[in-house]
């Protein structure tokens, strides 16, 4: 809707006003604008950090995803200490081991810190071996204890380290977002572009299809499609299958926007000028029209990522998304979707916290990008 309101024009630098005499490129201008949006900056930092962690999650996590610690089933997060029970300061942080007891009356696993047994935390320490990027064996972890165990986010019902699983889950969920959005972009730009540029009967046909897809609730279609995924598929194929399903219902919105832009731009003076000057069709599209809305597309893409991430959790909630042994945020939250977790093991909801943070970050980043990329959009449109 806002897109209809603002007719995008290429950044004309001189318009920046008399106060800036020095000429700056549109890119620099955008960067200046972006920096003004402080939350977007923070979000960008957070997301970069998260993606870096997901790339190196084998190294960042102290354990492997399937490693069970039978001594710590449903154990709460361990606190990291610098002071021991006697109040002595230790430069090297440490955790206390847990004493576990199943209470015969309450059937609850009760955990108490055993101050007799402390496990110092070492950094860049050898631990469980892992297969880095499926390429080579390694065993160095960012942090680990030499004896005992460390569960910063606690453990789940099988005694698996939540810290490890949250970041392995991030790898799947955050990449589903990006891959899915790329697919959406591909379809959206292609189809929207065709409709917008060709016009006429093609446009009307595509318009109709978009209208159809937009007037249907997505959830039943996600369900039906994921139920139709062949059983024999490996987890990797299911991953791509789910990604494609999620993006299938994302493109119509984008295609409509792209089409709108195309229609509007076709009539713009600068396009007319380019055409009159004898520029070819393709040159007009790629040299003149495309650049004027790439910023818009980037923004839309950024804002579409969280939808994918949330979509994956919704599918998992219904039990038709990814399945163990794949670890994704949706899979992790499926464990946490009951009343018992809220009351008794709230740390199993930590993956939810990461979903929330990531989705917020993407939204704020998208806002920032929009403000930055389109100077006339945010309060400065002087016509």
């Amino acid at each position: 809707m806002s897109e209809v309101a603002n007719q995008a024009t290429p950044a004309v630098v001189t318009d920046l006003g008399t106060e800036t005499l020095q000429e700056i490129s549109p890119r620099q201008l955008a960067w200046i604008r972006f920096k003004r949006h402080r939350l977007a900056m923070i979000s960008a930092g957070f997301l970069i950090a998260m993606y870096l962690i997901t790339v190196f999650c084998e190294f960042v996590s102290p354990y492997n995803t399937d490693t069970r610690n039978v001594k710590a089933i449903n154990a709460p997060p361990m606190s990291i200490h610098f002071f021991d029970a006697e109040g002595n300061f230790h430069l090297r942080p440490f955790v206390y081991s847990y004493d576990m007891e199943i209470n015969a009356d309450s059937w609850m696993r009760e955990y108490k810190e055993n101050t007799e047994e402390m496990y110092p935390i070492y950094f860049f320490e050898a631990g469980e071996s892992y297969h880095m990027w499926n390429l080579f064996e390694a065993e160095t972890h960012l942090f680990a204890t030499r004896e005992g165990y460390i569960h910063v986010f606690g453990t789940d019902q099988l005694g698996r380290d939540m810290f490890t699983r949250v970041f392995y889950g991030a790898r799947i969920s955050m990449s589903i977002g990006v891959v899915g959005v790329m697919l959406t972009l591909f379809f959206g730009v292609l189809i929207g572009g065709i409709a917008g540029y060709m016009g006429g009967i093609v446009d009307r046909g595509i318009q109709r299809i978009i209208e159809v897809l937009l007037s249907l609730p997505t959830l039943p279609f996600w369900m039906a499609l994921s139920a139709a995924l062949p059983v024999e598929w490996s987890s990797l194929m299911v991953y791509f299958g789910i990604t494609i399903i999620l993006s299938l219902f994302g493109w119509p919105g984008l295609a409509r926007q792209v089409r709108g832009k195309f229609l509007a731009l076709r009539e713009e003076d600068f396009v007319m000028a380019a055409r009159l000057l004898g520029a070819g069709r393709l040159r007009v599209i790629f040299r003149h029209m495309m650049p004027s809305f790439t910023s818009h597309i980037i923004t839309t893409a950024t804002l579409a990522v969280p939808g994918m991430i949330l979509g994956e959790t919704a599918l998992s909630f219904l039990g038709i998304g990814l399945r163990p042994p794949v670890v994704s945020w949706g899979v992790l939250m499926q464990q946490a979707q009951n009343y018992q977790v809220i009351v008794m093991t709230p740390w199993l909801m930590i993956p939810g916290l990461f979903v929330v943070l990531t989705v917020i970050a993407f939204n704020l980043l998208g806002d920032g990008l929009r403000d930055a990329a389109d100077p006339y959009n945010t309060g400065g449109n002087r016509d």
Binding site: S106, L158, V231, R323, P324, Y339, Q340, M344
Partner: protein
Amino acid sequence: METDRKYRRGLTACLVPLLLSVLLISHADDSVSPMPGSWFEVPKTASQLGIVSFSQSPILDDRGLPPVSERLPDDPPVIEPLNDIGQFGGRAQITLGDSWQFFNWESALTISADLRNFLPNLAESWDVSADGRVTTVRLRKGLKWSDGHPLTSDDFVFTFNHIWLDTDINPVTSMLILGGRIEKIDDLTFRYVFEDPNPMFENLIAQYGSFMVDPKHFFVKYHPSFADREFVDAKVAEVGVPTWMALLDALRNAIIDEGLNMPTLRAYKIVQRTPTMVRFDRNPYYHKVDPQGQQLPYIDGIDAEDILDNAEVVTAKASTGQLDFAAFTLRTQDIPLLKLGERNGEIKVHIWRRLHSSDVAIQPNYNYADPKYRALLWDVRFRKALSLAINRPEMNEIIYFSRGVPRQVTVHPTSAYFEPHYATAYTEFDPDEARALFADIGLKDINGDRLVEYPDGSPLTITLEFLDFETPKGITMELVANYWREVGLDLRLKLVDRALQSARAQAGEMQMTLWHADRVTDILFPLVPDWWAPRSTGWDRGMWNDWARYYQTDGELGEQPPDIIRQMQQWTDDMRFETDINKRITIGKKLLQTNADNLWTIGTIGLAPHPVVVSKRLRNVLPKGIWGWDNRWTLAYHPSTWYFDAD
């Protein structure tokens, strides 16, 4: 009171510290509370106990009903409550899912609390002829439907001939009544006659018996064999159902208002149905009384909320004391939360034991299309390796708080067919032996991914598809997948919904599937020994459906099974036709022994704790019972004697 003493002795015995190994195979006595001796015997009648006057719930006063003594049968059976004589009144808040447990079915026979024998219920007595072909039932005098209409042999005859044998309603006759007919002798006596010996038809009457009697005087109005066809067609059109069979369904489930008029024999009668709940009121003609002559049930009515199978909401409501009784959808892992509710004083959490021989019965598909995979599964070494690779003690600790029993799929300890070693065969944890067995078969890791391949180097992955419902199946399988992966087998899990489970299991398209192993007590095991031989197909079974089809159709369909399987099928036939109980047990033991040796299904943990939540006002619920389908969950424990404490 003989049995009572026996059970008390059992309880004392379990207080004596026992070695763990003994405990694992012990005769489950410790898991059942002492019960009144009369729950194991033919119920005494009022005249036998000298009860002459009867009383009714005050809510029935001034309703213009005939006096209670006229509504009760001539000589009503007396049911002894668990602890104390109850008081009338109250409405129970439960969910619709638990209504089958809160007021059970009433059939001609019922199940003894020992889960081995049968007792008369609507019947005064019954007998099975020496050749097992004829089962004769004599009804009590003066039994009435909830509308006051007398219950007679005609109702049974109608149900058998016009519901069960009607080819529109049941296009194919159920195997359980194949070759059978019903004969009316007089108004209160009838008999089922079979071409082949069918000595265990009584098991069916007791366990599935609710399907054997419908109110004829109600259904004849809608059944085209009796009613005017035009009237029925008009009714079908008016209600908007596609067929008259669907109309009967709609009536039976009280989906249309006329269904509310359908009489019942159960303790409660449906009076109202809304999208969110079903209300039941007490049946003023219910046939049982307590030792003081008070007409059962004690509780006046039930409000059963229909919460769309949402187990989480049920658990949350149960733990916060919003339900008077909850059990069906509760799971072992909910116990800590429920116990928290108990500490808040809102509820009591009884821990029963599920009768399931194993909460998970892993079923390899021996009829799977890929010959290489079939050959591998058929190798007993492979199945042994799969079983030995499972760390059951750890699984017991992680999922069951160490209160389950590592077990294979075999009969329940209460069974006359039970031998402890059937349950413990290959349940030890021995991953090295499992790896050695793999190597023996020729399975080895060729490409260095720590997972074994077929001897010819082609990849070996197994997909196990399952429906995660009732017992903790999902979490168990996540562990099993880990254990198998640790010995080098790549197991993938896929959750399927009910329709898919049914379609794929019955078509033999699943490489492996699972369900929990119920039908393991003497009530059902000898009648439907489906875990141990291919003799029928079902949505819960996916291991040998082609062989079952071959058996069912005498070789017309399906595929000829190997000799050893033919032998299993033969034994199930022998068991079904055998009239001598001792001979039957001998045959049954052969079947179970061969299965224990061959491990055609793989078990994990059985006899597991099951939470039964009762509100602080509900009384007389058995603290420790056996939970499961064989007993229809509560059938032997007399829920009609539950009552609300007024304080």
